[in-house]
Amino acid sequence: MAKIKKKIKSIRINADKCNGCRSCEIICSSFHATPRHSSINPARSRIQVILDPTTDIWLPVFAGEYTPAECMGRGKYVIDGKEYDDCTFCRASCPARDRFKEPDSGLPLKCDMCEDNDPGQPPLCVQWCYNEVLIYEEREEEVEEEAKLDEIDLGLESLVNKHGLEKLVDAVVRMTQKD
């Protein structure tokens, strides 16, 4: 498959500078409200500050991919005398926890780098982090060109993943026979 250049957007997190104000959560939820900025709810934010103030843990984490299953083990990290479990750094919207899920529906949330914003603007959380904990970076990488699935393919693929191809085919046949 052909190699193409892809723009990778990322946010560098300098957790040592974080003082836990949660402005990033607030503006994220506000920006992603419909209409834009019509409501605020940090629980809907695609960035969450993981905190345990007495042990000096303030760690912003972005929502990554949805995963249908939780992972097996639960490791521990000890960094600079502070203990974190595996889940702390994990960006997945996962059945094991409430993080990165819409509070009402439980649907997964994922950071989209505020791609609907005006061109050239860094994500809102970066703009609102006055203490420069969150730094926006862009870089180019060469990647394999992927065949892009269209919406129907994507939907069917997730149904196949969940129920198996056979059941899906049966269902489609049943639906066509109804008419």
């Binding site: 003082n19 104000c21 506000s30 709810n41 103030p53 007495t54 509070p103």
Partner: protein, 656 residues
Amino acid sequence: MRYAETGYNLEIDLATGNIEKVETDPKLTELHLGGLGYNVKLFWDRVPPETKAFDPENLLIFSSGLLCGTPAFSFNRTCVTTISPQTELLAYPMMGGFWAAELKYAGYDRVIFRNKSPKLVYIWIHNDKVEIRDASHLKGKGTVEIRDIIKKELNEPKAAIAAIGLAGENRVFTASIEQGRSSASRLGGGAVMGDKNIKAIVVRGTKDIYLARGTEFIEHVNKVGEYIKFRNENPLKGVMTILSGIGSPQEMKHTDEKWHTENFSWGNARTRRRDFWTDEINKSWSSTQREAIKRFISCFNCPQQCGALISYKDVPRFKQKCFTKLTYSMAAYVDNLEFNFRIAQRATEYGVDGFSTPQILAFGVELYEAGILTDKDFEGCPPDKEGRFNWLLDRVVRREGIGDILADGTYWAARKIGNGAEAFDHNTIKKHEQLPLKLGMMDPLYFLMYSTNEKISITQIEGNWPQAPFPTIEMREEFVKDWPQLPDEHFKQYLLDWEPRGENSNPYYPTPDMCSEIVDWMEEIHNIDDALGLCCGMGSFCLKPPYHTHNYHLLVSSATGLDIDRAGLKKIVNRSRNLHRAYNVLKGMRRADEKPPQDHWKRRFPELEEKLLDTYYKYKGWNMEGIPTKEKLLELDLGYVAEDLERRGILQDGQN
């Protein structure tokens, strides 16, 4: 749909355990906004003025401000409102932190407690689920200590916890309500919470708050944000470092304490040590401070970092901000900062006000040294300064022996002890301990602020006007050049003409008329902050702040959808402010109570002071007793208040 506010109160009857979510009347928001303004109205309507602090009828209200939880920076204050056991007036200790925002996200603007719980409980508010939970396992526990216990119990790392310690449980009049990051400390809110048998109020919310015109609101906030950045990059020139920035005084960042240690009094507001800050002290105090501070921290949605996580040697970790860094060392005449970090940690766990409490302990020590308190009262007390303070603190929070008397604060303790002790109560206004300041020349602005504001607390209502005149005309011109926060251009001339010495200096300049205008303006913006839930460090309590009289109403109207302009906003807070005054008048407050301590300044001017009060009362629309006139009350749609005052014979028809 309600905008900016949730439109619901949480009403909890602690005696019966009844919990109700009550929809509020939007008209009340239009009349009083939220926070302090709204709470005052609730007290007027629901709590008879005869009610004492520890009567079951006294309400304890924990309120967010109208703009708390919105994206506007630094709106994070919780306004606790209750009748103070110390002043016996309507008090409103406040705190920053995260509690107010979590309450809004849980779906409530305020929690109103009435009556008393038969046993120690804590309240768990999680969106629509509200529980009164047994807290017997938390009895006697420290305010920091219980945070881990509760968080483990509930498995909610983002829950905000407001808790009392042993002092609150024992109804110590200076008991605070601690939130880990900040505290509502003044005037005994923690004592009322303890009296009602509430150990902690824990809240976590995951609901939406709505904005009426969100995009417009964000545009206003962005402008404020730009100014915050500008002020952070450009500290003011010509003023002390501590006054040059924005936010709460940056006591955790600045290490130079020459000004505090030499201008504020040590002991029981007794001695100024003008040569204290030597190079050696500077070196040792700065190094202790740097060693103790683990990280600077913020309150909810605030770019400033006024607080710090303290991690000092073997001292369990706690958080601190502002002048409490120094108050214990200075009150105890201990020349090192280590003592302060050590005792402040214990005091935070106990939950006591870091301003009043050191003065009360120093007052006890003075009485002992003067022979008014005896060896019997101090039996078992170590002889050294540090040991004595620690021992006294333990007695006070447990209300043991002499501690039981001192726990009521210097005013009440002095009267209980008698035998000349009253003369040692020399730093209270309306029975409440003030900043340990004893200065030379009477300052007319501060005279009015100290005397007349309902806050009755350290900062009173100062902030936007410089504390002292600039020495040269060039500096004054430089200062007024860029001063968009002023309500009107003509104020600039007052500052330009204000000189350190000569005719245009304290006490006769600014004149009583000018003082009235300046103080009224500062009071207005403090009252706006307290209704909207803004940290006064970003509004009323600092020089050239990002929020001011020309942008508050833009935020309020775009957030709420209410049609409020600058004059409208002024009228609303004026209404609440006069209602507050009227309520305290019903509780007995009069002109005779409105005075700074006699020794606050060496040089006093009794005639001028009377004139200042006369002029200010008149400016405010109050009679010469400091009571709002019928005319003023009617102008503010407070006809029902005028009627009440008339019915009680406090206002006489036709005579004001």
